[in-house]
Every structure is written in C-alpha cells, then in structure tokens.
C-alpha cells in the first residue's frame, strides 16, 4: 500500500505519536506499572515479614518504625499492604484469565456456528447472568472451605457470560468478511478459521474489555474476601485486612484505611488505563 506523504510524516514523528496517547492511559499505565513493580518487589522492599508479630507494639499509630502503624497482633501494616498487592493482583489476573479461557472459545463457537449451538450457549449465559454477580460468587463458594484459587475461579466464572457475549458479537460482525468466506471456500476446518482467521481480528475489543474486567475482578475478589469467602488469615489480602480492621475502627483506624487506599489507587490506575486503551483503539469513543 502506498502511504501518502502526510500520513507517513505523522507516523514517523514521535512527538505526534505521543500526543495521540491519551493522558488517562499515561497516568493509568504509570500507576499500574508502579503497582505491578510494588507487587513484584514486595518481599524485598517491605520493612518486616508480613506475618511477624510484634507483641509489644500492638495497634500503634503510624510512626517512624511502622510507617502505616501496626495491627492488633503488632504486625506492620505497610508490609502487609505491600505483600497484599500480590494477592489482589493475582486474584484479578487469574480470574480474568479464567473468564477469557472459558468465555472467548464459547463466544467464537456461538458466533461461528449459530443455530442450536448458539442457542444453547446463549441460554446458559442467560442463566448465569440472572444471578447478581456477588450472589453468584457466594453461591459457588458457599459450601466448600474457602481458598484463594477457588475464589479466583468463582470470580472468573462470574464474568464468563460477559466475555461470551462480547466475543460472539464481534465474531458475528466478522463472519461475513471476505477473508473468512475465502477460508471457508478453501475448505479450512472450523477450528482453524476461528483460531487463525477470526480471533486475530477480534482481539482489540476483547483485550480492552479484559483490562477493565481486571478491576471488576479485583473488587469482587476483595468483596468476597471481606465476606470471609476468599483469602484466609494470616494472608494479607486487602479485602481481608479491611474486614479484620473493621473491629478496630475506633482504636486503630489505620489498620483498615491503608489497605483500602491501596485498593482505590490500584483500581483507579487500571480503570484509567482501560479507558485510555479504549480511546486509543476505538477513536469513535473519543468525543463521547
């Protein structure tokens, strides 16, 4: 394809490229990178082990030794918040991966085959979507002893229908494209067409949705942990820390405050990044 001189100039000019990246993506991306770095480095940068008791220093307000104060066992809140970022990110990412792994193939199948396959898959998502999200999570986790992996899986399951529907609608939009018809005419197998022809063209909206799902997943997992159905003590999951700090609101508000703030910053960062990504990949949204 021949590129017009003006377009070429725009692409090769780094300053122009920078201007095209939305501010929200830069701020959000920066926050997200910082938090991921923090999670990766947590064991080395946290001043104390997250589960070390300092019995003499119970419920200390923030001071020079314990920057974020200590909790009812004298554990350092800063260290716990730092290490807790790993749990939250882990849950968010694993849950989103699970919804992607289950949702995208089902959506492709439904959109590609249509007919009765489509009907069955869509009615199943209807059933799952008839539950309010938190309630579905509670239902899945209600009767078995809680642990992190199970919670992540439950959160992932909750958001499968959203990804099924999105993938399906994108697939439906692509299915009449000429290259798909050509692949069909060549006699390619359905699996090949779905994986090699449709999927590569369907990914941008799916990735944007997935990046937004990460924050939903983090929030839902935290809510489930808060309700006692996620990470278990002595884990320093943020939701669990807030739930335990609930009992010490009067004597040690910092115990619940700092993990909560950390969670807000994370979610705002990822949300900004998702919004920015959407703006970048879908220019029609820009002026909304």
């Amino acid at each position: 394809m021949r590129v017009k001189p003006s377009e070429k100039k725009e692409i090769s000019n780094p300053k122009r490229m920078c201007r095209r990246i939305p501010v929200s993506l830069m701020i959000g991306g920066l926050l997200a990178v910082l938090i991921v770095l923090m999670a990766l480095a947590a064991p080395w940068i946290s001043p104390f082990p997250y589960d070390e008791f300092h019995v003499k220093d119970r419920i200390q307000p923030p001071n020079a030794t314990y920057w974020f104060g200590t909790d009812e066992f004298g554990r350092d809140v800063l260290s716990r918040v730092l290490v807790g970022s790993r749990v939250s990110l882990f849950m968010g990412i694993v849950a989103t991966a699970i919804s992607l792994i289950l949702g995208v193939p089902l959506g492709l199948l439904a959109g590609y085959h249509r007919g009765s396959v489509d009907e069955i898959i869509m009615r199943l998502t209807d059933i799952l979507m008839s539950f309010p999200p938190v309630i579905l999570g509670l239902l899945i986790l209600a009767v078995t002893p809680p642990n992190i992996i199970k919670t992540a899986a439950a959160v992932g399951a909750v958001y499968v229908p959203v990804l099924v529907r999105l993938t399906r609608s994108v697939t439906l939009g692509l299915i009449e494209e000429e290259y798909i018809l050509a692949a069909k005419a060549r006699g390619e197998r359905a699996i090949y067409i779905m994986a090699a022809e449709i999927l590569p063209n369907a990914w941008p909206p799916i990735i944007v949705e997935a990046s937004l799902r990460v924050t939903f997943a983090i929030l839902l997992a935290a809510a489930l942990s808060f309700l006692g159905l996620g990470a278990q003590p002595p884990s320093s999951d943020w939701g669990l820390m807030i739930s335990q700090g609930r009992s010490y609101i009067d004597t040690g508000p910092w115990i619940a405050l700092f993990p909560g703030l950390a969670m807000c910053i994370t979610v705002i960062g990822v949300n900004l990044m998702g919004d920015g990504l959407r703006e970048l990949l879908d220019p029609r949204m820009k002026h909304r």
Binding site: D126, I127, S130, F131, P132, P133, V134, I135, L138, L139, I140, L141, A142, V143, T144, T215, L219, A222, A223, F226, L227, G228, L229, G239, I242, S243, G245, R246, I249, D250, P253, A256, L257, G260, M263, C264, V267, I268, N271, R288
Partner: protein, 318 residues
Amino acid sequence: MLIYISKRLAYIFLILVAMSILIFAITQILPGNVAQMILGQFASEESIKLLEAKLGLNDPLPVQYWRWARGIFHGDLGHSLVMDRPIAAMLKQAFMRSAVLAFFSFFFVTVIGIGLGVIAAVRKNSPTDHIVSVFTYFGISVPEFFWGIVFIMLFASYLGWLPSGQYVEMTESFRGWLVHLILPVATLTLTLIAHVSRLTRSSMLEALQSQYVRAARAKGLPERVVLVRHALRNALLPTITILAIDVGWLFGGIVVVETVFSFPGLGRLLIFAIGRQDLPLIQACILVITALYSFSNLFADLLYTYFNPRVRYARKAE
C-alpha cells in the same frame, strides 16, 4: 404488549427453574455430609443415620429436589438447620428491612445520578462537569465496603453523629430507625451513582446536539422546557437499562453493606447461613434474591418498552 409480557414471564419462569436446579445442585452435591455437619464431629454413627433418614437425605437427588421445589410453591422455604425455625418467617422479616434499604438507595441513585448527569452535560467541560466526573470516578473505583468503613470512621467514630451499625425497628423509634439507615443508604448510593450519572451525561450530550433540540430552541421554547421535555426525555432511555443493571449490583452491594453495618437484612442472613453452613437457609436466601433480581429486570424491560415509542410500535405491528 400482553403477549410480550406473558412471553417474558414464561421465560423468567424457565430461568428460575434452571436457577433453582443450579442452586440446589451446587449446594447439595458439593458438601460431604449434612447430618454430620448438624450433629458435629463427634456424633455417633447411629444418630447420623437417624437424622439422615429424618431429613430424607438418602433419597435420590431428583426426589430431594422435587420435595424442595414443591415446598417453595406452597410457600414453604424449608426449615433452618441452625436456628431450628421455619425459614419463610425469618426471610420475610429480613427481606422487609433490606427492601427499605434498597428502596431508599435506589431512589437516591436515580434522582441524584440523573441530576448530576444532566448538570454535567449542560455545563460540559466546566469546573462543575470535571468535579462531577472526578466524584463519580471515585464512586466506581472504591469498593462499597471501604466507603462504608470510611463513613463509619468519619461520622460514627470521629464526629459521633451517627451510629456505626445495627438497626432499630421503626415501631420502636422512628428517629432511631432513620438514623440507622443513613450510613448504609449513603454507602450504597455513592457506589452506584457513577454508572447512572456517566451514562446520563453522555446520552444527554448526544440529545443536546440533535436536530429536535435545535428545532425546539429555534421555536423559542424556554431552555428549561427544551432540556426537560425534549432532551432529557430521550436521554433517559439508556439510563433505564443501566438502572436495571444497577439493581443487580444493588443486591450484591446490600450483602456487603449489611455486613459492614451489621444491618440485619437478607444479605446478612445469607452470610450468616454460609458461615454456619445452614444449607436450606443458603438455598432459600439465594433463590429469593435471584428471583427478585429477575423480576426487577423484567420490570426495567417493560419500562423501556413503554418509554420507547419505536419499540412499542414495532411490537404492535408484529
């Protein structure tokens, strides 16, 4: 219209049946031994056998399901294992309290959310618009349990204006009842308001740029009439859909908020049931909450149809 409603009702009925099977299956198949759970770890073999026979736990699962489902149709939601009381009465009391909470929250979400959205759209790119969007961004990004805790810290612990939790019956003290509702309602409202105001803002902006608004202005109608009668009326359609989605979040949020504020409603009952592994109570709570959710979705759809002439006439023509 009637045909449409009955079609939807039939579909909801099917969904509810499917849901009840799912609820029953997940709660009944996964755990090991209900009788053991009730009697404790050290129960003798015989007493477990006896209780299993009494509860009908040895029957095949479809039989057990049928017994459960038939009971529901007769208004019998089963018998709580931990509380040793019929569930229906407990559930009704808890439901009434949650309904009050949900009603107030939903009311404020609708009124304030739409109001903020309209103001932000009319004063696009002004400081007011930016303040509203920052405010709503925080609403979305902060989980409800953290807002709840922050409110308790500020209004109960620090200022001492409001109680930090619990509940007082209206019949006991009207003022006490109202005061105990303020923080939970404020928490729920704050976390849900963002969707509504953001969507209202964007659809209102779209409406304001439309031909019919320009025509209305050109006619010389007062700006207030243009905004309310012409722009807002059309802009509200997508808002109805988002409000229906918010009802789902509201039911989830109620579970969390009731836990934060020790508010004795449906959500707290569910968490209590899960904590004590009271299977019949878990099943009944989840079934009631999801059924309510399905019906509120139907209601939102009907409202949407009613307010959207295009859909209404298309249906009539069918």
